[in-house]
């Protein structure tokens, strides 16, 4: 038995999916985050159901790749029942898709989600009347709280086993315009509106989207976010790293530093402590904070405020989605460029999104720069990064001139974040770090141990020497930079090991830390990002983007070095 979840962007489909499937899909109060579909097995009254979460789509006849994907799937694969999720607070709009779904004659159940939100905006919906008019089951749902979920699935099971009654011909509209009109009439017939209660959610945009105060407010929000990540992260990194350094020194003294065993144990400890003491302390608060902002619905507000600036980069505000996701991980960022209609825009957005320092690079910036030079320097790197991206955007649009269509973006209402979603989302990424990145970090550290023991390291360092020499970095930084392509955290964790486990501040001058971090932030996206670039755009664009990032990284790091020599 296979059910498909279909709905318009931001109607709460993924929230419903996560309620039944555990945390698998990326949800956000932001449309366009689900671009590929996720399938999961769920058990409903003893029956195993394969549940597919399709990308949000306004219509089956879509124009962007995310929308075409949903359409193709429903047309091709065998689906036993379609669960159509509709945002009850915007019923008329949602019913347009429902009317379109009626035309494919499959078992269909309509879930009116966000009933609480509809109530808040003073709307009462007559469910039975709607059910009678549409001729399909209509059920209320509050997916964020898990209310109505079981009933919905039970009903869908029933429907899947019953032959489909053809839809009322009066409901089969020929054109989009006709469907719009019909959906509006249907909604008007079942919704009674009372006085809308104005709450803080309606007032808060007067400040947060204010033409002047919106910007200080945004800066303040991001600053608090940044400070919190730094505060929590450094409070853990300091003592934990000190403890690991003591153990590692004690062990080295016991085993003898020059033996193979000693080197390997040393490498192992470096890999473990790197993940535990340097990466995770920043990663967890960062992902939690990002999830919180996403769930509240603040991210599209940033798009609204920044669209004017983004336009000057030759991108429209919609490209802010890849940007913001990029701060978490570049892989979903590149995937989300699918929400852009023009191929040119997708290339541009992807090329710029991979320059965004992801959570892995965050570890480098925070673990090295913020920890040793102070959080303001880390903030400076982030601002410098945005500046460089802006400049590159300007440059690339100059090289690839094509008019970009303007922004069209729905501004979701603010929601009180549900901890379950935010925790789930953060855990999703943390788990990925634990099972995919951390073993790689430990493996990388062990490989480095072997390379050091067999004295191969200098050879590799010499190959990369032109780069490190140009940037004024110690010879030993060569290998960590190479390994950083596997996982960006390796650039920091292996650096510590390559420098003999010494405290960074003993070996690297402040300017060298800055130059190194800036280079790491910009150069070559990691292997997974390269792979997804290739999948989304093709081999040639991937190579172009990879080459482009190396040039940008060199230029940016050299600029920092030059400025540093002049002013520090």
């Amino acid at each position: 038995m296979r059910f498909a979840l279909v709905g318009q962007p931001n109607c709460g489909k993924s929230t419903l999916f996560n309620q039944v499937a555990g945390y698998k899909a990326e949800t956000g109060n932001f449309h366009g985050t689900t671009v590929t579909f996720t399938e999961s097995r769920v058990r409903v009254s003893g029956e195993i159901i394969r549940l597919v979460d399709l990308p949000g789509t306004y219509t089956l006849a879509g124009t962007n790749p995310a929308e075409t994907e949903a359409q193709r799937y429903l047309a091709s694969e065998h689906v036993d029942a379609i669960l159509n999720v509709v945002d009850a607070s915007h019923l008329a709009q949602g019913l347009e898709l429902t009317l379109e779904l009626l035309t494919i004659d499959r078992p269909l159940v309509l879930a009116l989600n966000m009933m609480d939100e509809a109530q808040r905006t003073g709307q009462r919906i007559d469910g039975p009347a709607l059910q009678a008019k549409l001729g399909i089951p209509v059920l209320p749902l509050i997916a964020s709280r898990g209310q109505g979920v079981l009933g919905l699935f039970a009903r869908a099971l029933q429907e899947a086993r019953r032959p489909v009654t053809p839809a009322d011909p009066a409901l089969l509209a020929g054109s989009e315009q006709a469907r719009h009109k019909l959906a509006a009439e249907l909604a008007a017939g079942v919704v009674t509106r009372s006085e809308r209660r104005l709450t803080w959610r309606d007032r808060i945009d007067d400040l947060l989207l204010h033409p002047f105060w919106g910007y200080p407010a945004m800066a303040a929000i991001l600053f608090v976010f940044f400070q919190a990540v730094y505060g929590i992260g450094s409070a853990i990194e300091g003592p934990l790293l000190a403890a690991f350094n003591t153990w590692s020194a004690a062990l080295a003294a016991r085993l003898g530093a020059q033996t193979l065993g000693g080197e390997l144990v040393f490498g192992l400890l470096q890999g473990i402590s790197g993940g535990l003491a340097i990466a995770l302390p920043y990663l967890i608060p960062f992902l939690f904070g990002l999830g919180l902002l996403e769930d509240i619905g603040y991210l599209p507000r940033i798009a609204f405020l920044m669209d004017g600036l983004m336009h000057r980069l030759g991108l429209h505000g919609k490209a802010i989605v890849p940007f913001i996701l990029g701060y978490g991980c570049n892989v979903p960022a590149v995937m989300s460029t699918r929400i852009l209609e023009e191929k040119q825009d997708r290339f541009l957005a992807a090329a710029l999104a991979v320059l965004v320092p992801c959570a892995a690079r965050l570890a480098v910036v925070f673990g090295l720069v913020a920890f040793y030079l102070g959080p303001l320097w880390a903030l400076a790197i982030y601002l410098f990064n945005i500046l460089v991206i802006a400049l590159m955007g300007r440059l690339l649009t100059g090289l690839l001139p094509e008019e970009t269509p303007g922004l069209i973006l729905e501004m979701p209402v603010y929601r009180v974040p549900t901890l379950k979603t935010v925790f789930g989302k953060a855990w999703f990424r943390v788990r990925e770090f634990l099972v995919e990145a951390w073993p790689l970090l430990i493996g990388g550290s062990l490989v480095l141990s072997l390379l050091t023991y067999f004295e191969i390291t200098p050879l590799v360092d010499r190959i990369v020497r032109p780069f490190t020499w140009l940037l004024g970095l110690p010879v030993e930084t060569g290998l960590p930079l190479i390994f950083g392509v596997l996982r960006k955290e390796l650039s920091l964790i292996m650096l510590r090991q390559a420098l003999g486990g010494a405290d960074f501040s003993d070996v690297l001058a402040p300017l060298q830390m800055l130059t190194y971090s800036v280079f790491v932030v910009f150069y070559l996206p990691c292997l997974s990002t390269l792979a997804v670039l290739r999948k989304e755009l093709g081999t040639r664009p991937m190579l172009q983007i990879a080459g482009f990032t190396v040039l940008v990284a060199l230029a940016a790091a050299l600029l920092v070095r030059g400025l540093g020599v002049l002013f520090l």
Binding site: Q177, L209, F304, G308, E403, G406, I408, E410
Partner: protein
């Protein structure tokens, strides 16, 4: 709707500015104005894209706010808030209510 072709170069600007001679666009009304959408200046399938976001000719909308720095407009339509870039807003022909 395939509006008439204005301007010899076929650029959108020509089409839009020609429309603006006697028609009002969403870009020209002050914040707070209630409008009815009349039509969309045919602009590379933009009308189609707007319909997907629920903007149809005949719908009523209200201009809620403007982002600075040439940023987008925020309109309320059918109970939802949608941000439109200025280029898009310039292609939405309206009458004030």
């Amino acid at each position: 709707m395939g509006g008439p072709v204005f301007g010899q170069d076929g650029s959108d600007k020509g089409i839009i500015s020609a429309f603006m001679v006697n028609r009002l666009t969403l870009l020209q009304v002050p914040v707070g104005t209630r409008v009815r959408i009349q039509a969309f200046a045919d602009n590379k399938g933009l009308d189609r894209k707007l319909r997907q976001y629920g903007l149809f000719a005949g719908d009523e909308a209200r201009l809620l706010r403007l982002a600075p720095l040439g940023g987008p407009l925020l309109i309320e339509i059918n109970g939802r808030e949608i941000a439109l870039g200025r280029g898009v807003a310039a292609a939405v022909l309206v009458e004030t209510l």
